[in-house]
Subunit: 195 residues, 2 copies
DNA sequence: GCGGTGCGATACAATTTGTTCTAAAAGTAT
DNA sequence: ATACTTTTAGAACAAATTGTATCGCACCGC
């Protein structure tokens, strides 16, 4: 019943993954190997092979670590524009400044051929979209949104465009652009002010 | 002065890249190696090393080949919804059925570290967005759109969401979904029908 | 202290990646 | 057709990567 829990296991595992994440960030997926992690950490290569018998499993765990970057909880106390701006601001930070932001293209590329990586990303993105949808839902219950607003599609759009701009189109992703983006989403979802 | 231009050079290069593209498509980036291309084409491994001394250069050329997929010209003769649906349908085909669609994540990942690849994608995407913007512009001149419609942002959205769904979120990208997507973009851009 | 377990080190095999050399084949120029 | 140049095929070889197996040692929980 009681787990023995040798602290060395967790220690080497955490150290290895930490350094592996740094390697991934600095030198790309291909640089993440038992050998490189061994020399960078001082952990013996054979020990690393014991923890991750296959290279794929090592990289997968590194991706998981990268993907578990700060997942900001939704802010839903209103008003809608403030909540949405807060969420999207956090997304911008996540893409521009966290390990996940740096590593996302590599993980996405891996997901094209690796079903495990694909599953990790799918879960991750589903959570992100759900967070934004929660913002819409809360605003809807407060009566701030148009009845007809397709909140599911709008939430997806809100997230899709930043990802697209940064990784695919290579367009800038700064505060200034974000403001206009949030404005547009707001205008599409909320009741126009009575004049 | 006159370039000798031995036809064998182009022949082996084209054959190798053609087959390499197929390998990339069927087995992923990692399967594209001098060895695999050699056995698949019958070209000697040493010859392939002569053309591409580094593995990276071989893969890069395959990516560039994949990126030069058919670029559909915009349809702008109206009505707006038909034009937009036609454009987006072509995008869906491009993503689901062409080499580019299969390989895009790999090229995007490469673009994170390779400035040449980055430039290729930037140009490619700029053209795509411009094509959709042309559809909006033509409809605008026919008076089909709202004056206030932010056509630049909407065109970007129209393209961003399919890319996001397919490559990042891992969501389906079928005709049924596309219809609702086109509907939404239309509703945001066009004058509501007078009731 | 004791048994069990993780760790480090080494040795080894198989595959991958890249280089080098030579002879043969194909192309170009005269 | 002949002479010259360039490309190709093939093999041998080196180096790095990937993975396995074994050993003694150090550490952990009890």
């Amino acid at each position: 019943m009681t787990r023995p829990k040798d602290p060395r296991l967790a220690a080497t595992r955490n150290l290895a993954l930490d350094v592996a994440l740094k390697i991934l960030h600095e030198n790309g997926v291909l640089a993440v190997t038992h050998g490189s992690v061994s020399t960078a950490t001082g952990i013996s290569r054979s020990t690393l092979y014991r923890h991750w018998p296959k290279l794929e499993s090592l990289r997968n765990d590194v991706f998981l670590l990268a993907a578990t970057s700060p997942n900001f909880p939704p802010k839903t106390n209103g008003p809608f524009r403030a909540d949405l701006a807060w969420m999207m601001g956090n997304l911008l930070i996540a893409l521009n400044e966290t390990p996940w932001g740096q590593v996302a293209p590599q993980v996405v590329a891996l997901a094209a051929t690796d079903s495990q990586a694909r599953a990790v990303i799918n879960d991750f993105m589903r959570d992100r979209i759900a967070s934004v949808e929660a913002v819409f839902a809360a605003a809807g219950e407060r009566g701030e949104l148009l009845e007809s607003a397709p909140v599911g599609q709008l939430a997806e759009m809100a997230i899709a465009v930043p990802y697209f701009r940064k990784y695919i189109a290579g367009l800038p992703l700064d505060r200034e652009w974000l403001d206009t983006h949030v404005d547009l989403i707001c205008r599409l979802a909320t009741k126009p002010a009575v004049t």
